[in-house]
């Protein structure tokens, strides 16, 4: 949560929030959808899809759709549009994931069926700057997506509704 990166992340996140609704990630790992297809992209489509799967594996929430993880990955992708080093980190990182998947008998990371196999690959590269970049991006890039807060039971701002003084600040009745 260093602020210098945060500010960038927040801007990236706000920008990335638009235009992704019509997107779906197919079981093949390919991303389809009109709005999606029109967006400029720095990473290769397969790379982007692998990053989405990797993001889910970092913070697996079964209730969340791939689109939510893709919104977070979009922040990385956008940053990579103006940084060759960032782009190389992502492409090379996914190449490493795929190689590790090959060692486990898979064709690539995203199509490895077993979550535990994918988690083991990530665990083995947990100190890698690539992994840390993708994971740390999610702390804000995923959990600060306001439309996801209700899924977790978080209600966000309350002052504009008069606080909780008449809305259940002490409604707990099970203790």
């Amino acid at each position: 949560m260093r602020q210098s990166t945060l500010a960038t992340d927040r801007r990236g996140f706000l920008k990335a929030g638009a235009g992704l609704l019509a997107m779906t990630i197919m079981p093949s790992g390919l991303v389809v959808g009109d709005a999606w297809a029109q967006m400029p992209r720095s990473t290769k489509p397969e790379t982007f899809a692998a990053l989405v799967q990797m993001s889910r594996d970092c913070y697996p929430h079964d209730a969340l759709k791939d689109a939510s993880y893709a919104k977070a990955v979009e922040i990385l992708d956008e940053a990579a549009r103006s940084s060759e080093a960032d782009l190389a980190l992502l492409e090379d990182g996914v190449a490493k994931l795929n190689k590790a998947a090959g060692d486990k008998g898979g064709s690539d990371y995203a199509s490895l069926a077993n979550e535990a196999d994918r988690a083991a690959i990530l665990e083995a590269m947990a100190e890698d700057p690539f992994f840390q970049k993708v994971r740390s991006n999610l702390v804000v890039g995923l959990y600060n997506q306001k439309d996801l807060w209700p899924v977790f039971g978080y209600e966000g701002a309350s002052a504009d509704q008069g606080g909780y003084i008449d809305r259940g600040f002490n409604d707990l009745d099970w203790v």
Partner: protein, 522 residues
Amino acid sequence: MAAPYDLNDDGVVVIVGSGAGGGTLGTQLALKGIDTVILEAGARHETWDFINDEWDSFSQLAWKDKRRTSGDWRVSKDFPNLPAWIVKSVGGSTVHWAGASLRFQEHEFKTKTHYGDVAGASLMDWPIDLTEMEPWYAKAEGRMGVTRTNGLPGLPGNNNFKVMEAGAKKIGYKEVHTGRMAINSVPRDDRSSCLQIGFCFQGCKSGAKWSTLVAEIPKGEATGKLEVRPECMVLRIEHDAAGKVTGVVYADKEGREQRQKARIVAVAGNSIESPRLLLNSHSSKFPDGLANSSGQVGRNYMRHTTGSVYGIFEKPVHMYRGTTMAGIIRDEARHDPGRGFVGGYEFETLSLGLPFMAAFLDPGKWGRDFSSAMDNYRNMAGMWIVGEDMPRAENRVTLSDETDEHGMPIPDVHFDDHENDTAMRKHAYGQGKAIYDAVGAVRVIETPPYPSTHNLGTNRMSEKPEDGVVNRFGQAHDVANLFVSDGSQFTTGAAENPTLTIVALALRQADHIAGRMSRGEL
């Protein structure tokens, strides 16, 4: 009307910082008719500007200037450039604080006497004691409207408190209530009562929470004797050949250097910036920094022994609803070495919103274990541990070799946990788990300390000049017209949230300064 003072007016008291220490001192001096200028590094954000959103509010209020860290504390690994979660805004960290207002216990002013020699710790008795402080605590409580004092009712307990209270009573704790809080439980002081908004840390949007921004500074300004100058970052304090301070040099909003003359300077920039400023004010006369003949400036940095315990239950808690810290267990606050450590600790209710929970629950952690905890956010209850940590000479703020945009060296904050801190935290984690287990927790999580909100001790108060930086009134041992007015003057940290003590010391210091000025001694 706020009085604008001339840069060449050498009759003003200049205070660096507008938080609990500086904001209170400046207001009290103005109320006594003394011309006062507060230089505040941050901008002025008023109640209606505050944001009910954790990251956006952090961007608005937090002190984000780059700092460095070192030592074995986990904050240094997880947040290497953010040792402290404090505020850069008019009102300082009273904008962010949660309101817990506790007096120190008698023995906590005399730790050397009561705890004895603790290896690896630089314990020392304060030159003042509880008896001397009691009238000032009473004044501070009255001024701040602390609940459960002066006939003010306690705040109502929220869901998070209900869980903690039930568990605490089941395991036998006796002193459990909704705290002594500087948050209005009834309308008073032209401010409303608490609306249970739940964003206490983000600046209270109802105005119910005491801060120097809403409850002190406006009263000082109304006297015509106080000017608060925001976005002014003080870079160094200057002195004359006799060693008396003559004023300060600061960078204004446009980054231009200005020189404000002063009759007296009081430093209240919190325990990282205050020693940074003194160390950066070195000269040929004071080569190791101003007020540092003892070599103690920057040393004995304390941050309280903290940690959090989060319990996950089968049913919803919605812990974020309502006053964040209106809940306390005081049974462990006593000094009882039989537990395996000296000093004591408090449990206080605490919650984070989902975004900050993601960042702080277990920084760096990932995978199913972490995400499954987040999946249960709605069923989570939380409490904070705040206990006395050991002062250590090597835990210190120093100037690094890297400079900021004003050319001022950025601070490095070094901290190693003392084994007493570790033992206390372990005990508290165990008791916290027992509390939640007693009311049916399905999982309990030990959360490591957040970036420090209680920063203390780096200009410690001492009886003898060779042992510390300031005397019993916060006056520098080395420089008669230089004062320290924030938590950096704490000799030791006690188990209590520090703000009430900072305010009480500031009120006492204002009385002292005004008296000596009127007698022509300053």
